[in-house]
Symmetry: C2
Subunit: 135 residues, 2 copies
DNA sequence: TGAAATTTGTACGTATGTATA
DNA sequence: ATATACATACGTACAAATTTC
């Protein structure tokens, strides 16, 4: 349950793993709030920066959302729309640029899928809201 | 060139944007090293934690790699292998779990593409090394 | 309306550890 | 062995957003 400072694994990674496991186990429901970060730090006996690092990592994984003044929320899976992709197209995935994140309203930790045909970009899709299907 | 503490935009975001732009402009070649983080902090007049936050963000975007004891390296685009995807399959993208990152050797800031048919997972591909093509 | 409490964000500094050159 | 460079981790202070009273 607790963390081991002598395990060789950094505390912030241990903490991220612990929280990830508790979230996966359903300890907090999707859309629900984790305890305040100060409480988490107290419970696990680590400082603020360590909690911050763990939270940053889980955000980058798309596991949580953090709302300032509110708390740390378990991300809810979004509805996924089916998008057909023609034969011969190519599908790549990558992290969005900040501009794309702003324009498309993409949360942190969510990649984009890019569909191209003949080198021309046909679509850029937030990966949490689409499933691509070859037609 | 420099940062504005009064712009309302956090310094670490401004710094990340500045470095992103300089990288995109080719100021440092792919595979090359940025200046040491201490130098970056000195040049931009910000503290160590601020540089760290900017570096963490650029890592999560897949723009840079950080090698301990070496420096901050501009990531080189990997060779992309073409993978055919059958009709009727579904393609999703997401950030990998830490286990997947370890098993597949996926760098930070790189999503995975997941191909399923009939709900069964047919493949999990590091997105920096594949392009999927509907066949 | 507004004040207070809660909670996260930003940013600094300091010290120590560890990998590489 | 020494120097360089990033990583970890602590603490502190203040700012900003939200909720509650």
């Amino acid at each position: 349950m607790s963390l081991d400072p002598h395990s060789g694994v950094p505390l912030h990674r241990q903490l991220a793993a612990a929280l990830r496991a508790r979230i996966a186990a359903g300890e907090w429901p999707a859309g629900g709030l984790l305890p305040p970060s100060a409480r988490i730090g107290y419970d696990y006996g680590v400082g603020k920066a360590t909690v911050q690092a763990a939270v940053t990592a889980l955000r980058a994984e798309g596991v949580i959302d953090v709302e300032r003044g509110v708390g740390i929320r378990v991300r809810e899976p979004a509805e996924r729309e089916l998008v057909s992709v023609p034969r011969g197209a190519e599908i790549e995935a990558r992290m969005p640029t900040p501009e794309e994140r702003a324009e498309l309203g993409i949360p942190e930790g969510v990649p984009v899928q890019v569909v191209t045909t003949g080198g021309r970009v046909r679509g850029v899709y937030p990966a949490d809201r689409v499933k691509l299907r070859p037609r």
